[in-house]
């Protein structure tokens, strides 16, 4: 079946989104959660660039993708810093133990 470039790319986007959310719900280690978040952001970037390709406005989508990359890098940095501090202060990275917002 001959799918357009866009359709293939969007299968990839949806697949990555599913994998990312699956990872967020399955993983217990905080660092792995950050990795799953990164996968979600890759999916968003892929979607942006593929849409730009479909549209013909590749430069506009490149500018937006740059902003997303900056933001997502900062999120990764903050997530990792939080993970490191939690490991030092509380001693565990298991999200099932980190439930002080319970109730």
């Amino acid at each position: 079946m001959s799918l357009s470039l866009f359709s293939i790319a969007f299968i990839g986007v949806i697949g990555l989104l599913g994998i990312g959310f699956y990872g967020l719900m399955i993983c217990r280690n905080l660092i792995k959660i950050v990795i799953a978040l990164q996968i979600l952001v890759k999916a968003a970037l892929l979607g942006l660039i593929a849409a730009g390709n479909l549209n013909g406005q590749i430069n506009l989508s490149q500018s937006m993708a740059l902003t997303v990359i900056v933001a997502d890098t900062i999120v990764a940095v903050m997530g990792i810093a939080l993970g490191v501090q939690i490991r030092r202060r509380i001693g565990t990275l298991d999200v099932h133990e980190l439930s002080s917002l319970k109730g």
Partner: protein, 580 residues
């Protein structure tokens, strides 16, 4: 010029509130003076707009987009409620000079009262349903803050929260109505609803009508939403006189009167309004017979009189209901403020500790008697004329059963009023403390003004009806001079029947010893408030149990939270796909 004056009606109290709040608590005398000045200025502004009232918007500020236009329309209905708010507000503020005296946190008190006065005027003057809702919510907030003013007293705080929850839940009905108007007409203007209400599908109009009825009943403390008003008596007395007797509780009656032309065609709406009015008048009157706290008796009396106003709106007598609103605001404020003076003189609110004070407090006795004349509906006082108008129109338009019940309630009103007067001023003295004063100077000033109003405002009936008829194009009211109205009332047979019932009520008190067995049988039911308080408690328990049950979902664990997020995403996608 007119638009500036109209904006000032709301703006002056709000600016005053800001100034007083910023000034802080350090100079009580300055605060007293400032508050009085701002309240009086607002009253002057309102009174000067009255001759120029019109049914066209005088202020129109386009707020853009979803907020619609902010309009102020000083028509008869709106400007007279704003006048009551500012004038009775000034009386209450003047009274508060001596009542609060050197109390702590005076700045908060005066700022909230002025904020409330401005919001109440805005509620009445607003021509846009959305902004009416905003002002409605502001009055509810001020009411809560003022009821719980002494926030170290747990009863005051509980009373404030109860008032807030009950009136806010009713306010949902108002917001729903506003949004429905917007979705069908594209703007929030009240005039568009009143002109084009036939274009709405009947179901929507019915929803709106009953939604507004619920909002009005909750705000005006009608059965079954009445239990917050007696508990709100923990507020300082000027607050009670202003908010819970003269202004905020009238907002419900105002709402129903304003939208009456649009809703009267809904089947069952008028009967529902009448039923609520009749039930409230009767049940609250009976509960007032068993109450032992001065302010509680007056609170039940307020609920009962508001029931009369609802009954009048239900029968279509808009002028009678507004006239009674006017009279009631004045004589009830007089009664509450006099009660406040008695309370500060004796230091207690319990009727069991009073009695025989007539000799020591002659001035307050006279004030109370004048207010009682208005409440009972005896000639000379303004309550007589307004109550008779309501009863007449009720006989003409409503079911006979309702008329008879209202007549009986008039008798009950007379009975509990005489009981109140007797327990405070006449009979044997039960109290241990001597009254410290007979009305301090500032108290006397506001009481005299209100008493004068009670005895004379019925003379304004002709001008008032003219004002309403000329500025309310949708209501189709008839105007007539005062003399016609007086003649009509004095000659009508209903008047004499009513006066007879009232005399019967007074006489019942004199022979009360014969009724003790009957009274004792009814007493537990009356004191339990006919089961409504127990119903409230059960509802609160039910909500708490549901909350405890739902708390299981808050695990605090990230994985469950993400599962919740994904579930929400799936639901949104389903809804969107269904719509597409």
């Amino acid at each position: 010029m007119l638009s500036i004056l109209t904006i000032l009606i709301i703006g002056i109290p709000w600016i005053g509130a800001m100034c007083i709040w910023l000034l802080g608590d350090r100079h009580p005398r300055v605060l007293h003076a400032l508050a009085t000045a701002f309240a009086l200025l607002a009253a002057i502004a309102t009174l000067s707009v009255i001759p120029f009232s019109t049914s066209q918007p005088v202020v129109l500020i386009a707020m853009g987009g979803i907020l619609g236009d902010f309009t102020l329309i000083p028509d008869g209905l709106a400007i007279f409620i704003a006048a009551i708010a500012t004038v009775v507000g000034s009386a209450a503020v003047i009274f508060a000079i001596d009542y609060m005296g050197q109390a702590k946190q005076l700045a908060r008190f005066y700022a909230l009262i002025l904020f409330f006065i401005g919001a109440m005027a805005g509620l009445a003057l607003s021509g846009s349903l959305l902004f009416t809702f905003f002002f409605w919510e502001i009055t509810a907030l001020c009411s809560y803050a003022l009821i719980s003013f002494h926030n170290d007293d747990p009863r005051a705080v509980a009373g404030g929260i109860k008032a807030l929850i009950m009136t806010q839940l009713g306010g949902v009905g108002l917001l729903g109505g506003a949004l429905l108007v917007y979705s069908y007409f594209g703007n929030y203007q009240i005039s568009s609803l009143l002109t084009h209400y036939q274009n709405l599908p009947p179901v929507v109009l019915g929803l709106m009508g009953f939604g507004f009825l619920v909002a009005a009943a909750a705000k005006s403390a009608q059965v079954p939403f009445h239990s917050w008003l007696p508990d709100a008596m923990e507020a300082p007395t000027p607050v009670t006189a202003l908010i819970h007797a003269a202004t905020m509780v009238n907002a419900g009656v105002y709402l129903l009167a304003r939208f009456y032309p649009a809703f009267k065609s809904i089947s069952g709406w008028s009967i529902a309004v009448m039923t609520i009015g009749v039930l409230s008048a009767l049940l609250a009157g009976l509960m007032a017979l068993a109450a032992n706290d001065i302010k509680r008796v007056l609170a039940y009396s307020t609920i009962s009189q508001l029931g009369y106003m609802f009954y009048a709106v239900g029968t279509g007598a808009i002028f009678a209901s507004q006239f009674h609103l006017f009279s009631h605001a004045i004589f009830k404020a007089l009664l509450f403020l006099s009660a406040g003076a008695v309370i500060t003189a004796l230091g207690t609110r319990d009727l069991g500790q009073m009695g025989g004070l007539g000799k020591r407090m002659p001035f307050l006795q006279v004030m109370f008697v004048i207010g009682a004349l208005g409440l009972m509906g005896l000639p000379i006082a303004n309550g007589f004329f307004s109550k008779e108008l309501i009863l007449e129109s009720g006989l003409e338009t409503g079911p006979l059963v309702f008329y008879l019940i209202m007549l009986f309630s008039a008798g009950v009103t007379a009975l509990y009023t005489v009981r109140l007067l007797y327990l405070i001023f006449w009979g044997e003295s039960r109290g241990r403390t001597q009254p410290t004063h007979d009305g301090l100077p500032a108290m006397r000033v506001s009481l005299i003004v209100l008493a004068f109003g009670t005895l004379t405002t019925w003379l304004l009936a002709g001008g008032f009806s003219q004002l309403l008829a000329s500025t309310l194009p949708f209501h189709h009211l008839e105007a007539g001079p005062t003399s016609t109205m007086v003649k009509q009332i004095c000659l009508a047979p209903t008047t004499w029947i009513a006066l007879g019932v009232i005399a019967l009520g007074c006489a019942t008190w004199l022979v009360r010893t014969r009724f003790t067995t009957l009274a004792e049988a009814f007493k537990p039911m009356l004191e339990a408030g006919f089961g409504f308080d127990a119903l409230n408690r059960q509802i609160v328990q039910g909500v708490k149990r549901t909350a405890a049950f739902v708390q299981i979902a808050q695990t605090g664990q990230l994985n469950w939270n993400v599962a919740g997020i994904v579930t929400g995403l799936v639901v949104i996608l389903l809804v969107v796909l269904r719509g597409a």
